[in-house]
């Protein structure tokens, strides 16, 4: 049993608590419902640990400043919601290209455009993965509880430092605004990952030459390495690259993540693992699905709920394993069928139709509705 304390917290508050424990000392943000609490609490807490919380002029500046702070040698993060997440897309690509570790929280709300600012949604599922231009990869984690907001934030910082990438926490209004018990382990009970910095003399250091794991060492600015860091396709020494060098660079920044998915990919199963009926969910919908599984059990219905915790890169293999033997698969999500498309891609059995239980418009699904769906659509 880990040592720590239990506190009743808002999901967004749990995110800040974890970020500070993980060593985040720069926050660049912009107010937006339903993520604003993260900015507000950061602005109270960071000065107390000699950090800096800056409310920037927009979300573009917020994430670009985070990338600057990252190369400045600090763990840094930002948080936003749909419209702000749109503005951040160019800088997500930037963080990928200059390999700047950072954490981006998207507390999803209804879209498109200004949408429904105070209502929950899961419509940014694909945007979180494909929103920026070009070929790239990154890691997206989906918490479903305040506790997971805490745990995933620690994990996000660790993965961002390990892979030198932006890691996205794809939360939603329900998870951001839920107030519930969170276990906060003492710092010495947690593992924190720090980026690897070069120790060789500057003359011997090649800035984008990868280590064996595909990730180059990352010098902090003003530590003597005089680093040229450009957002263009680059050669190993940081200069503009030719076509061959561009190809190598793109392949590396994708494979450094996707070749190591076993380090972080996570799919959980709740309920009867052998049940023929399976829900597939992510984020806050996992909560209602769990209740539905429990209610089904009382009625004598065997159901399993497959919870995809790391939605990108999509854990095909783990999802296939979690769904093995299922005869009826219902994807439950708060959009018009995004996770459903991935499940259709992964489960290619003609006899199994991947059904969709979809709730949009900011209406969170009730557990009874899951069971009603199973009955009515049969």
């Amino acid at each position: 049993m880990k040592k720590g304390r239990i506190k009743v917290m808002l999901g967004n508050e749990a995110c800040v608590e974890a970020a500070l424990l993980a060593g985040c000392r720069f926050y660049g943000g912009y107010p937006i419902t339903p993520a604003t609490e993260i900015l507000e609490i950061m602005s109270r807490r960071l000065p107390l640990v000699d950090g800096l919380c800056l409310q920037m002029e927009d979300e573009i500046a917020a994430l670009v400043a985070v990338v600057g702070a990252s190369w400045g040698g600090t763990k840094a993060m930002t948080a936003t919601s749909g419209p702000g997440f749109c503005l951040m897309q160019e800088a997500i690509g930037l963080a990928v290209a200059v390999e700047a570790p950072c954490v981006i929280v998207n507390v999803q709300r209804g879209g498109p455009a200004s949408g429904q600012s105070t209502s929950t949604a899961q419509g940014d599922f694909y945007q979180a993965r494909y929103g920026s231009n070009g070929d790239y990869s990154l890691i997206v984690l989906c918490p479903s509880t305040a506790q997971e907001m805490f745990d995933h934030t620690i994990k996000a910082f660790n993965l961002s430092e390990r892979f030198r990438i932006p890691v996205i926490i794809l939360s939603d209004e329900v998870v951001g605004h839920i107030r519930e018990k969170v276990f906060i382990p003492d710092a010495d009970q947690l593992t924190f990952v720090e980026r690897k910095v070069p120790t060789v003399p500057m003359e011997e250091f090649v800035i984008f030459k990868p280590e064996e794991n595909g990730v180059p060492l990352m010098p902090t600015f003003n530590t003597g390495y005089k680093s040229p860091v450009i957002s263009q396709a680059k050669s190993l020494n940081g200069n503009r690259g030719n076509a061959k060098e561009a190809v190598e660079n793109i392949r590396r920044i994708v494979s450094k993540i996707e070749d190591h998915m076993d380090e972080f990919a996570e799919v959980q199963v709740y309920g009867d693992e052998k049940a023929e009926t399976a829900f597939v969910t992510f984020g806050s919908v996992c909560r209602a699905a769990r209740s539905a599984v429990d209610m089904g059990k009382e009625k004598g219905l065997a159901i399993r709920s497959v919870e995809v915790k790391t939605v990108w890169p999509f854990p095909d293999h783990l999802v296939r394993r979690a769904l093995a033997g299922a005869k009826r698969i219902v994807v439950a999500e708060m959009n018009l069928g995004m996770l459903q498309r991935e499940i259709e891609r992964v489960i290619r059995q003609p006899e199994i139709k991947i059904e969709l239980f979809s709730k949009i418009g900011g209406i969170y699904p009730q557990p009874q509705e899951f069971l009603r769906f199973l009955e009515e659509k049969r």
């Binding site: 600057g68 160019e90 003003n222």
Partner: protein, 278 residues
């Protein structure tokens, strides 16, 4: 090679991508001279966005983060925020700084964060092939204003002054001595400094706006049109004649942002230690 180049350029990055006759190389030289005079190369952290002038810092053997179009200033703020002892300098162009990045300029100046923005003004989008910029004169025919530019020019120095910059200068590549002096002043200025450099672009501005692609012609154009005038009340008259006022326009002392952050952090930590109200 010029001894400054020998000392400070990344030789494996040469040749420059600048066109023959471009002013950017002259700015590289003036800046490196200032850095050499101050001996501050190890403290430098540069940022840049996109455009010809964004490449100025890349050839210098210093830490540089070259980001997206218009976003050099917020990147600089992030770097400065994590270590205020750095001398942070942003190289940007008129399009990068006044159009796509205009909002960032306003707010960095307003914060009076200790950094220097060097805005190289060639009066056109040059790297993309000669489109109208916020700095292009009314009536100019460019690739995107084939019937003449209808929009009035945005004056970067006036914007910077209005937004709260605490040091503002404008010179041209025809003023290398003044430029070196102003760079040194800016590098030592505790606050937000904005330096506009009128620079020649024979390939785009010269050919399309001024009527000649000759480097000599374009350089002479700057000499003929840049008038030293540090009194803002006389700018309108100079500008009405199609000329450009240059000089050291403003330098004042105001509370600097990162110093204020340090004071605030100290204050709230002390209050917290006493258990009192912040």
């Amino acid at each position: 090679m010029n001894p400054l180049g020998e000392k400070y350029l990344r030789k494996d990055f040469l040749p420059f991508l600048f066109c023959p006759g471009c002013g950017d190389g002259m700015i590289v030289q003036a800046f490196l001279q200032a850095v050499d005079d101050l001996g501050c190369v190890d403290d430098l952290a540069l940022t840049a966005g996109i455009g010809c002038s964004a490449w100025i810092g890349v050839y210098m053997h210093v830490d540089i983060l070259k980001v997206l179009h218009g976003r050099a200033i917020p990147a600089a703020i992030g770097i400065k925020a994590t270590n205020p002892s750095r001398k942070v300098v942003t190289f940007t162009g008129d399009g990068d700084c006044l159009a796509i990045g205009g909002n960032h300029l306003l707010h960095a100046a307003r914060r009076n964060i200790d950094m220097t923005v060097v805005m190289v003004n060639n009066q056109i989008y040059a790297m993309t092939g000669g489109q109208v910029a916020p700095s292009t004169a009314v009536g100019s025919k460019t690739q995107t204003t084939p019937y003449g530019n209808l929009e009035r020019q945005l004056n970067g120095c006036k914007v910077a002054i209005a937004a709260g910059a605490t040091m503002v200068s404008r010179w041209s590549t025809a003023h290398p001595k003044q430029l070196i002096k102003t760079f040194k002043k800016a590098l030592n200025h505790k606050g937000f400094s904005f330096i506009e450099i009128m620079s020649q672009c024979p390939v785009q501005t010269g050919r399309y706006l001024l009527g000649s692609g000759s480097p000599q012609f374009n350089f002479q154009w700057l000499k003929d049109h840049c008038m030293k005038e540090e009194d803002p009340s006389k700018w309108a008259e100079i500008e009405a004649q199609g000329n450009i006022p240059v000089g050291d326009f403003l330098q004042v002392e105001q509370p600097e942002f990162m110093a204020e952050v340090a004071r605030m952090n100290q204050r709230v930590k002390e209050a917290q230690a006493k258990g009192g109200d912040r």
